[in-house]
Subunit: 511 residues, 2 copies
């Protein structure tokens, strides 16, 4: 198993510090070799969807790849939905997918499948190691690809991993940030004006990038928006107030109705999440001119900063926005009082993992006045991301509080993440928004033109028969939990969780 | 949405009676249309892996396809591991995968991915409907393919589903069983002898098929074995004692050491589950001649019956095997007393869904003396199958008791299945074998030649830190639960669950 050890030594050298694993027999030698790479923290997950979602949360916060250890085609399959989200976020991840020994593949044993076919749609880079002496070169390629373009998948047959061949690690290559392409800067500077949309996106919208964009907007009158589902936004100072393009295409189209120019800064051209009968799927007017300031997913800090300088956009005055007061009432919790409770109590430097869907709709805007924090969203729309994402973010940033805002239906996809949080003592406050329904689907059905819910639809969107007791489930996984039904109690529960160390779950009964 | 309604009308006509669903926006019109097809029972699952596993259990028992409703690439991905198991079992399933409207795909919205690439490795049939007037022809093709060869995937863009075009259903085609290929019968009859292995497999080993095979063995002296992980075996009468090829390749190779001829009846050539350093992956001697009596996965009742007649194999005398007595002791539960407890109490006509891995190793042989029953196993090795499989089997056979024998680690993959059992009032006894570990991996590591578990390995195979409380989790999902630590209490709990209706969970603490 020298090959497995050499692989992990190289991964350590290249800055990999965490391995989210749900290993199986085909990955035994990698597991055995982990002791030889003490810089890499092994984190056990009860389901591969937790491992890949955690690697996504880790990668977004650390801006460096974690490893995942997945067991052949089925293990990869279980982790695929969260790799889809990571692929959309361009998060650096190296997925190590164990495969049967090269000579065993032709036997077609029960666990065989076409791993590459499954991995390709969510991989920015994908290769299979066929012989041991390819291993380290391909591993380095995978790590570099992950850093540059997002999830990379390295398929590793068992006989390569257990080989005792001596392997020589490739020379370290210098890492350098690709300079941004300044070709369009002058043109962008000319085009920006009151009927221009400056749309921000990409891997990480830093405080510097957000501030530059806000200043550009203030100077030129351009509408500055963040894409609907950004991978990560650092929110501090006046730029924390930047808004996101609305999810509902009707609202988005109305916000963009007067736009004649779109400058894309790391974001893709704005399109509807879903097509609806008779409605447009492109959200800006058809005639609008489009200019790419940076490729989708790129880091855009440099480009925006330069653009702000070219435009001589002045520093923004620190605005004085009052942080919302703690709500003090004993009534039911609704989306507005939820948002207020979150914003009023959020600790300094929190990391919010937002999969709150309908119930959490107002939280983002409300939190603009909270202390500086990072906000991570559901980039690919594949639900079941939130709790794993929070788990990985907490591994990356042990000194910060992670707040998972989680819809009930989505939480149930990957609820096993709670166990890893308990096991690793992670500082995650899991807020489960229990409205007893796939509320988003009721909404989507209306939008799709079906105005009266059929009996079947009502049944299929319902999560109340029987009611789910999230506190019991959390305790079963070793996470302390409490249920709250009023804003006052929610605030108290949030503050209790922030003051303690380790994970907690708060089940919020939403009206 | 006439198209969606026409599709469901055709599915009803073709004998589809259940739809395991976890729908999303792209499937709205199908959900809305379900009221127009009252013959199809919609069953809501909290995770797609539950939906596909349930469709597998349903299809194995009903021998007819269920529908699954999956939400684009990520929904399919979540259901993929259990579709892998179903693909290996050749279970009839029609997976309906919702896709973006045809004209929206090019926009590459966040939930887009290459659905076909993900589906292909687990589909016996796979097509995308591009225009409404293809829908019903392709739907009929999918249903027929599912009946014949296993999981079929029909990718259905939203604008096809919501179309109001009038569609004419294709004429029903006569269904007929393919006659078996008798070419090799005479040769098989000649070859069968004391050094022959008759290996049984396929979709369904009926009582008739098992009995014929047993008689052939008695007459010719051939070794008759069932493949290691059969899709479904009906066990009644003397043939219930037929054994399965051992999982451990060392044991299997030793059982087959003297074989010089292999007659395959619906089974594939026996190979190791995993390759191990320095060990053969083909389990029979290299020189052994191989004869295919039927293609892998075929129904082999006819072939075996005819073969038994050709050989003039007499009826087997009913053997008198005593059913094991209820264990009566207050000690700890080990695999032997577990097997005894199960065999001693199993009700008439039970359906056993066996994902018990290490702890349940002796249950199958012990249950040979239990009343007639069906036994379903982990055909594809993708764990997380058991609880969903039991859920679907119970939907197919509401008058029978389903017994899920479930390893702790595997149970945690798709634990959400419990909620569907509670919601639908399904008669499932979920026996969770809690040994606080991925015990199989400890074993596999030894077999892989790593004799001393590293610190990392010990940590990654451990499920005790923190201990998982399955009873709390079950109650959270609405299923009554109890924990037992002695055989006496296990027997009492089993009998209590068999006497009641609806689901129950028994957490068995295994030594």
């Amino acid at each position: 198993m020298k090959a497995a050890q050499s692989f992990l030594a190289l991964a350590s050298r290249e800055g990999i510090r965490a391995c989210f694993a749900n290993p199986g027999t085909s990955e035994m030698h990698l597991v055995a070799a982990l002791d030889s790479a003490p810089a890499i923290r092994p984190v056990l997950c009860l389901f591969e969807g937790v491992a890949t979602g955690a690697a996504d949360g880790y990668g977004r916060m650390a801006q460096a790849p974690a490893l995942t250890l997945l067991h052949l085609g089925p293990g990869l399959s279980n982790g695929l939905a969260n790799l889809h989200n990571a692929y959309r976020a361009k998060t650096p991840i190296v997925s190590l997918v164990g495969e049967h020994a090269t000579y065993h593949r032709a036997n077609n044993p029960p666990l065989s499948s076409d791993i590459a076919s499954i991995a390709r749609p969510v991989s920015s880079w994908l290769k299979t190691v066929e012989v041991p002496n390819q291993l380290l070169d391909l591993a380095l390629e995978a790590i570099q690809a992950a850093r540059k373009t997002g999830p990379a998948a390295l398929i590793l047959p068992a006989d390569v991993a257990w080989s005792d061949e001596e392997l020589t690690p490739p020379t370290p290559r210098e890492r350098r940030e690709e300079p941004f392409d300044a070709t369009h800067l002058e043109e962008a500077a000319r085009l920006l004006g009151p009927r221009t949309l400056l749309l921000l996106g990409g891997r990480f919208l830093s405080a510097v990038a957000c501030s530059a964009a806000q200043r550009i907007g203030a100077k030129t009158g351009a509408l500055v928006l963040i894409e609907t589902f950004p991978a990560r936004v650092r929110r501090e100072g006046p730029a924390a107030a930047l808004r996101r393009l609305p999810y509902l295409s009707e609202m988005a189209a109305s916000a963009l109705a007067n736009i004649d120019t779109i400058v894309l800064a790391g974001a893709a051209y704005p399109v509807a999440f879903f097509a609806l009968p008779g409605r447009p799927t492109k959200l800006a007017p058809e005639h609008a001119r489009v200019l790419d300031l940076a490729a989708p997913g790129s880091t855009i800090e440099g480009a925006l900063n330069t653009l702000a300088s070219v435009l001589q956009a002045p520093e923004t005055e620190p605005s004085i926005v009052d942080r919302p007061a703690r709500p003090e009432n004993g009534g039911a919790i609704d989306p507005a009082s939820l948002a207020q409770s979150i914003a009023a109590t959020m600790p300094e430097n929190a990391i919010v993992c937002d999969e709150s869907n309908t119930a959490g709709l107002f939280c983002y805007d409300a939190a603009a006045a909270a202390p500086p924090h990072d906000w991570l969203t559901l980039t690919g729309g594949a639900i079941g991301q939130g709790l794993p994402l929070a788990t990985g973010a907490a591994v990356a940033c042990p000194d910060r509080r992670v707040l998972a805002l989680e819809a009930d239906g989505s939480a149930l996809y990957t609820i096993q993440a709670l166990w890893t949080q308990a096991r690793e003592g992670l500082n995650v406050t899991n807020v489960i928004l229990n409205n007893g329904a796939y509320a988003i689907l009721r909404l989507e059905m209306m939008r799709a033109g079906v105005n009266e819910l059929s009996e079947a639809a009502n049944a299929l969107f319902d999560l109340k028969r029987p009611a789910i007791d999230f506190c019991a489930i959390a305790r079963g996984f070793g996470v302390p939990a409490e249920r709250v039904e009023t804003p006052t109690k929610l605030v108290a529960a949030l503050e209790r969780s922030y003051a303690a160390s380790g994970p907690a779950l708060i089940e919020v009964m939403i009206r």
